[in-house]
Amino acid sequence: MSFSTMKKIQSVTVSASTSAAMEFTSIPATFDDLLIKVSHRVSVNIGIAAVFLQYNSNASSYSYRRLLGDGNTAASATDTTSAVAIAQGGNATASTFGNLEIYIPNYAGSTNKTASADNGNETNGTTEYLSLYAHLWSNTAAITSVKLLLSSGSFVTHSTATLYGIKKP
């Protein structure tokens, strides 16, 4: 990768209060690929919540396949939701945040949109979640907005998401 081909487009930081979603809007079509780096923690006390990745305010036509490890066993699953990661809940060790990286190639093209996502939570607990997701939006529209939302709870203070554009030389 040429060092001059990656540029921040937008950044979201949850500051004073919790937020149900982190969203990027009005994404320009001037790049080739998108990269999202997320530091996340959620407010739920049930332990974990699913993180969903949705485009253009469209909640349908998603699917995923994942490989998941919890520190004890490894498993694989597939489903027709927009899930892209598992976030840790409010009962986890204080000040620990999960790491998520999402790569979205050819986001402005006319093919269905795919993404790969690597996510890890490590809270010094007994069960942690580390996952690799293949994510598909069966829609040929160009992506102009991206939203990260949760199955329950909210993103807490200090959670961040940064959207980068990748331009091929």
């Binding site: 060092f3 540029k7 004890n72 694989s76 996510n119 890890g120 010094n124 580390l130 940064t162």
Partner: protein, 162 residues
Amino acid sequence: MPVTYEPIASTTLGDAASTVTFSSIPGTYTDLILVLSGSLTSGTSVWGLQYNSDTAGNYSWTSLRGDGSGATSARDNGSTRILCGWIGTSQVTEIVQIMNYSNATTNKTNISRNNSTVASTFVSANVGLWRSTVAINAITARTDSSTFASGSIFTIYGIKAA
């Protein structure tokens, strides 16, 4: 277009070494990426990271890994380093992403991808935690056994959210 992904430091080993340390890392980036392209002088070993010269049991990690025939997951608390992968006498590529390394608010975490085809090692994804809210200003890569071979390359990149 501004530079948002740039090399901070790089070391190519002239002699075998069991540790490689990058110090005086500036706090001016958002995230760090460490790339290791290298091998060991003998055998196989886990390799991992320590921050700011902390050698106590303040690290924990979880790993998802495959050995070519099956997948497993493992983890550890109270470790003296963050596991980042496995390495042997053939060349491997290892990529570690260290998020929000310079804040003084949150404990520090990373995710890593380990790409080894050496027998008795794994291809793996790993997540690590350093239970400290101190900004990271030094990173030490180390093997549990053997030594990194001469010619192994360690490079740290900084990513600016700017």
